[in-house]
């Protein structure tokens, strides 16, 4: 059994990273050319790590299951990225970002990692701007900021509601430069199905080429996983359909420890479930809580009338509304941390104040913001601020400018205009703070195997603050892993190429082959999705927002039974030689 040694450096917390960097081993540029690194996943963490490792001179092999690295699910992150730049002069600092992140995570994160994260946060913004990431700017030409939940300063950099997209495309462009130079060999449409361990060290992976069906062996001196979280075990989540935690699960089965799996972030502002046909949920960015006010009717009879369609939310007078976050948390108001907002929404809905057909929704209302901005604009433009129609028009323009794409997304899905009637939102599975256990160097309990970004567990404790996931992904990939991995690879400068003919590769490949054969030959009566939906229901009902001993024990028994049923009764149509999306789904469940 491995012992958990965090390898946190000595010294004051503010000096640990600097001291560590000064002391760790380096690999000279000529030797880097003889060292191969596999990076699985091309989101913010994997993409930025692949690009940076290649810039340093390592030979990188990058893998993604999508048809292009640009499609990794980091692209869907909306709101922003934190950095302790203190451009607003509102008292921000490295220490304050560190403190907020640790406090936001209910003091369950590894503090040395979080301090390092806060330290490099400013470098991330500099780097991204140099890459041409078009962050929002003010009229003076300098960068704009906004505020996020759980903090009292404005430190979030953003690009409308598409910050994740812009940062990911920045990392993708850095990768493209290295792919063009031949320093990154890119494997699109490949799924990692096993980790190969030779003499106790991670030395390669087995991957399936999703187009040809070929099972391939790939060797390297180290393997880095930037493969995201496990939110999809709940079936319904804001994760992409393909974000299926397969790679992380495979290394766990090979001995990598998993930490804090209980810490799943249930995000407060998602579009509520509309029916059984749904396969995924859509997030409405937390940035909306900058301007949106969350409420439910104050009286049970009003909530009932709204659910039955007899009353419209806009008909309710101010005094009949319960702005429960502002009431309960006056200093943070609508910008409380996510876990607090989610629990409060569930509490109100469980008490019977829910506002949609299922009773599982609360309002997020922009009417007050439209008024406030409209009046301000009327004053700025020397127009009549008592003209209600004009004020509404001007205010709507400001809100559209800030959140236009989110409002459009909401309208397309729900078929209601959020400028006219409040949005309906409800908590949904969004992010996983838990993950593969890593030490200070981001190495897992398997030597030479690293986990970065959402895939690891260290930085967000029991609750992640908004705009911190992008920060962590890029911090790990651009500024942490490329240093710390050198400390390990310095011992490999004389190793030479790792052969894929080693018996360990053959064994791992045979395991993957027999698993696929089993799935193809099972010829049962139910589809993979059938099992996945049932797993999701067990997870949401018994391992969701409210948990107790009885439910958790039941879930363990039910999941074990479901697993047996899956192996004996799953049906995968088609063949394994070629593109087979049902087989792809099935292999992620093994």
């Amino acid at each position: 059994m491995a012992t958990l040694d965090s390898k946190t450096p000595e010294g004051h917390i503010s000096q640990k990273w600097t001291n560590h960097k000064n002391k760790i081993n380096l690999v000279n540029p000529a030797n880097k050319r003889n060292i191969d690194v596999i990076v699985v996943g091309t989101g913010l963490a994997g993409g930025s790590a692949a690009a940076t490792l290649a810039e340093l001179g390592y030979n990188v092999k990058a893998f993604c299951f999508q048809d292009s690295p640009r499609r990794a699910h980091s692209i869907a992150a909306q709101g922003g990225i934190n950095a302790a730049k203190n451009y607003q002069g509102d008292g921000d600092s490295t220490h304050r970002l560190f403190y907020d992140t640790v406090k936001g995570g209910d003091y369950r994160s590894r503090e040395s990692n979080v301090y390092r994260l806060a330290e490099v946060s400013t470098n991330i913004i500099d780097q991204c701007v140099a890459q041409g990431v078009p962050f929002a700017r003010e009229y003076g030409g300098l960068l704009d900021n906004r505020s996020f939940g759980g903090v009292l300063v404005s430190r979030t950099f953003y690009a409308k509601g598409q910050t994740g997209q812009q940062l990911l495309l920045g990392a993708y462009s850095a990768m493209n430069r290295q792919i063009g130079r031949g320093k990154i060999k890119m494997y699109n449409r490949h799924e990692m199905l096993d980790l190969v361990i030779v003499d106790g060290k991670a030395r390669g992976i087995i991957a399936r080429n999703l187009v040809t069906g070929a099972i391939e062996r790939h060797s390297a001196h180290a393997v880095v996983l930037g493969t995201g979280g496990y939110g999809n075990v709940f079936y319904l989540s804001t994760n992409a359909m393909g974000s299926n935690v397969t790679a992380a699960w495979k290394i766990h089965k090979k001995g990598a420890y998993f930490a804090n799996p209980c810490y799943t972030q249930i995000h407060p502002t998602c579009i509520p479930v509309s029916g059984d046909h749904q396969s995924k949920l859509t997030l409405m960015s937390e940035s909306l809580r900058n301007d949106g006010r969350i409420w439910v009717p104050a009286k049970l009879e009003d909530a009932k009338a709204i659910r039955e369609g007899k009353l419209k939310p806009t008909d309710l007078k101010e005094e009949d509304r319960d702005y429960y976050l502002e009431r309960r948390y006056p200093s943070f108001g609508n910008l409380v941390p996510r876990d607090v907002a989610s629990r409060a929404a569930k509490e109100r809905c469980d008490a019977g104040f829910g506002v949609n057909k299922t009773g599982e929704a609360v309002y997020l209302d922009f009417a007050a913001a439209i008024q406030r901005y409209g009046k301000e604009q009327a004053r700025v433009k020397h127009l009549d601020e008592n003209d209600a129609q004009l004020v509404k028009k001007l205010g709507t323009e400001v809100v559209a400018n800030k959140y236009g794409n989110l409002f459009q997304m909401y309208e397309k899905i729900v078929d209601q205009n959020p400028y006219e009637t409040p949005m309906m939102i409800y908590p949904a599975v969004h992010y996983t703070m838990g993950g593969i256990w890593v030490d200070y160097n981001l190495m897992t309990t398997i030597e030479g195997c690293y986990a970065i970004g959402e895939a690891n567990f260290s930085d967000h404790g029991a609750n992640r603050l908004g705009a911190s996931a992008l920060m962590q992904g890029l911090a790990d990939g651009y500024f942490v892993l490329p240093y710390t991995i050198g400390h390990y690879l310095a011992n490999d400068i004389r190793t030479g190429k790792i052969s894929t003919d080693l018996p360990e590769f053959e064994k791992a490949e045979n395991n993957v082959r027999s698993q696929i054969e089993h799935l193809m030959n099972s010829k049962g009566s139910k589809t993979v999705d059938h099992f996945h939906k049932r797993l999701g229901k067990i997870m949401w009902d018994k391992v969701g927002m409210a948990r107790n001993e009885k439910g958790l024990n039941e879930a363990i028994t039910e999941i074990a039974a479901l697993r047996d049923e899956f192996y004996s009764d799953v049906r995968v149509p088609g063949t394994a030689n070629g593109l087979n999306q049902e087989l792809e789904k099935a292999t992620t469940c093994c």
């Binding site: 780097q127 030409g141 812009q166």
Partner: protein, 248 residues
């Protein structure tokens, strides 16, 4: 509602494909187009038939994976959305819907509705970047102010999701809108000006090598683009290209 689907089925790149008819009943208007295809696939699977392969991932209109030609239009009849954001309320009970892959020489079909868009990646490898290494001592992000107008325009161009709808919409299968979006993003920012000449020359060369057609200003790309990328970007790329050609 009940619908008839006419779907392109093709076993692999080397086999000839054909349109196959499917009936689907009890489709809810609240379903997304891909929820509806999931339902069809579940039914096909339960009948022992092979499901229809199609690309999809985020299902919120940002990853650019989904790529269906629906009734002859990339991403279907609605505007400023991708296929995953198209909802069945756009259709009527009894409708017949044609579903095909994006068609272009540079996007060969892999299977059914899945096409190979790696040509887009290769155009980006040729110059879709600013050559700056990762380091902890790049100049401060606020050291170079950028006019808000330029930054906003660069952002608008940068919102391209690389789905390929522009190519599928164009009678010439031209990738000018896609390529010009990246060229414009960097051309508008001071950080990108340094390499502007090489960038536009290299990206256009690669675009031509991939077999994309030329632009004849019909504007179909702009209309079908789910992100509303403006034709203005093509004009900007042409200016950049001309200026780069003259500089040599």
């Amino acid at each position: 509602m009940n619908l008839t689907l006419k779907i392109w089925r093709q076993t692999d790149a080397d086999t000839k494909g054909k349109i196959v008819d499917y009936k689907i009943n009890d489709v809810s208007p609240d379903m997304s187009f891909l929820d509806m295809l999931d339902m069809l696939n579940e039914q096909l699977n339960n009948k022992g038939e092979e499901p229809v392969a199609f690309d999809h991932d985020c299902r919120e209109g940002i990853c650019g994976s989904c790529s269906l030609q629906i009734n002859g239009e990339p991403h279907g009849p609605d505007r400023y959305i991708t296929t995953c954001q198209l909802h069945m309320r756009t259709f009527k009970d009894g409708d017949t819907i044609f579903i095909e892959p994006f068609r272009a020489k540079a996007f060969p079909v892999i299977k059914d509705l899945v096409v190979d868009r790696s040509s887009f990646d290769r155009v980006q490898h040729a110059g879709g970047f600013i050559s700056v290494n990762t380091s902890g001592n790049t100049i401060d992000a606020n050291a170079i102010p950028v006019k808000k107008h330029d930054a906003d325009k660069a952002f608008d161009a940068a919102t391209c999701i690389g789905c390929g709808a522009c190519v599928a919409a164009c009678k010439n299968a031209s990738a000018m809108l896609f390529v010009s979006a990246k060229v414009s993003q960097f051309a508008l920012l001071p950080q990108g000006r340094v390499e502007a000449t090489d960038r536009v020359m290299n990206m256009v060369r690669q675009m031509d090598e991939e077999g994309f057609g030329n632009c004849t200003n019909t504007g179909a790309c702009e209309i079908e683009c789910p992100k509303g990328i403006s034709l203005e970007n093509i004009a900007r790329m042409n200016r950049e290209y001309l200026s780069a050609s003259l500089k040599g």
